[in-house]
């Protein structure tokens, strides 16, 4: 099989990396599933060696799913060298266990903690609007922004791993410069702050469309514009909730339960 086909085979099968996640050896089943055919080609004509390679591939393995193709590429690269006889077979396992934990941490930090929130917050101003087309555009924006980085990481990691083995880590990390992270955090915070009043305004208008009875909360025209009162109450609630959650007085779920109970009580009193 030519290398391009082998690469596509690993790339497509790597999407199932966590399908049979188990507490004993974590992602080993997905890892073996993606690599089995390539290993068969690498060890063609030597069934005993192939069995040993399968045993190596099904040992403990855990990394971030988006970086799993990179580790697979490195493994194929090293297995080819083992088949040539230029390195020892034990090196494959040690390299695998050496590079997967840092990649795991890198992926969690970048994708789960930063890029997911940032791409959602970029799309959020569209998502709170009232027409279906901007909403769909916002969803598409969120999906494309995040998955561009996701798929690029998978493909580039696999290519680098198959091409240069263990040295790929240094070159892959260059795609994730740590000095960008504070900028991402600041941008996310700015976008979240900016969207909070906008989203709240949209929410109030739409709730009024849906539930005209909310006007029952008006105190008989004594307050000129209900909108600003509600916006102020909402922002005050945000400030109070931030304090409560940030200082760990209550967890967010406890706070939600308290708020639900309080809102029923307030409604009875009104």
């Amino acid at each position: 099989m030519n290398p391009a086909l082998m690469k596509w085979d690993i790339f497509l099968k790597s999407f199932l990396i966590q399908a049979a996640w188990n507490p004993e050896r974590m992602q080993n089943v997905g890892f073996l599933f993606a690599l089995r055919r390539s290993l068969k080609i690498v060890w063609a004509g030597r069934p005993d060696q192939f069995e040993a390679a399968i045993a190596r591939a099904s040992s403990f393995f855990n990394t971030h799913p988006y970086f799993a193709p990179a580790v697979m590429g490195v493994t194929v690269h090293l297995e080819k060298k083992v088949a040539d006889g230029s390195i020892q077979a034990e090196l494959v396992e040690s390299v695998k266990s050496r590079i997967s934990p840092p990649l795991n941490a890198l992926g969690s930090l970048w994708f789960w903690d930063h890029l997911k929130l940032l791409s959602f917050l970029i799309a959020m101003p569209l998502l709170v609007l009232r027409e279906p087309i901007p909403i769909a555009a916002g969803a598409a924006l969120f999906f494309c922004l995040f998955n561009y980085h996701h798929l690029r990481t998978r493909w580039v990691g696999l290519s680098l791993g198959m091409a240069c083995g263990e040295e790929m880590v240094g070159r892959l990390v260059r795609f994730f410069p740590s000095r960008v992270l504070p900028a991402i955090r600041r941008t996310s915070a700015f976008l979240l702050g900016l969207t909070t009043p906008l989203a709240m305004a949209c929410l109030f208008e739409r709730l009024q469309d849906r539930m005209p009875h909310i006007a029952g909360l008006d105190t008989a025209g004594r307050i000129p514009d209900q909108f600003y009162i509600r916006l102020g109450i909402g922002l005050a609630l945000v400030a109070v909730s931030i304090t409560v959650i940030h200082r760990r007085w209550l967890s967010v779920y406890q706070l939600l339960a308290v708020a639900l109970a309080l809102s029923i009580g307030i409604a009875q009193w009104l």
Partner: protein, 268 residues
Amino acid sequence: MTFTDTIFFSLLAAVLSLDQMAFCQMLISRPILSALLLGAVFGDIREAALVGVCLELLFVRSIPLKERTAADPTLATAAVLGGIWGSSSSLPASLHPIAAVPFAAALGLLASFLSKWFDLRLRDVNTALFHKLHRVGSVQFTAICALFAKSAGFYLLAILAVQGALPKIMSSLGPAAVPAAAVAWVALFSICVAYASTLLFQGLAAVWWGVGLGLGCAGVVFVRSSALPLSVVSMGILIVFVFHAFGETIRHLRKRPAPRAAAVGEIG
């Protein structure tokens, strides 16, 4: 939604939930995307977007990492949307289904916590499969089928439970249902936004949050009305927030090592 629709609804939600662990991790199982997809097929995309934004902010941290399982975000979304659309005919006539969302969200969150237990059991099943089956492809296939079966069944039960409970909750509130729903909506949205904000409250990010909030307030006031006092008030909010945030930063930057404790001989 009829009972048949509910079955198809939970099947689609179960397919979407495979994205969490089994397939791709392209985030289509996140509340916002799954809510919009479910809304586009089964109901109203606009109501779905409201629910999806709230739950996405609430589930911003919930990702299964290593041996930890997370509360199931797709289940919460499906239970809320399936619950409000499925029980809309049996709600009190004056009540729009969107009013029931905060109460449905409480039930949906409960169900999504319960699903953690099933996930843990399934992972043990995966270990057994790996030891019992000889072909790696069949291990993968069986594991995905087991996950799908668990999701589909549990989602259907959760959605039916929410559909059954919501009309009783809303009618027990009586005339207070509408104001309760309105207050609960405001509280739900505020708490979701606040929870996402606390994740970003480190160092300079808090400053930028304040700047964004002030600009947003000013923008809302400007678009809504050109009333001068209100613009001044909102600019005041901006300034207070910025100074508060910058003050914190300045204190942080000026932080010096604690003064050296006087040595014994220096005293007196």
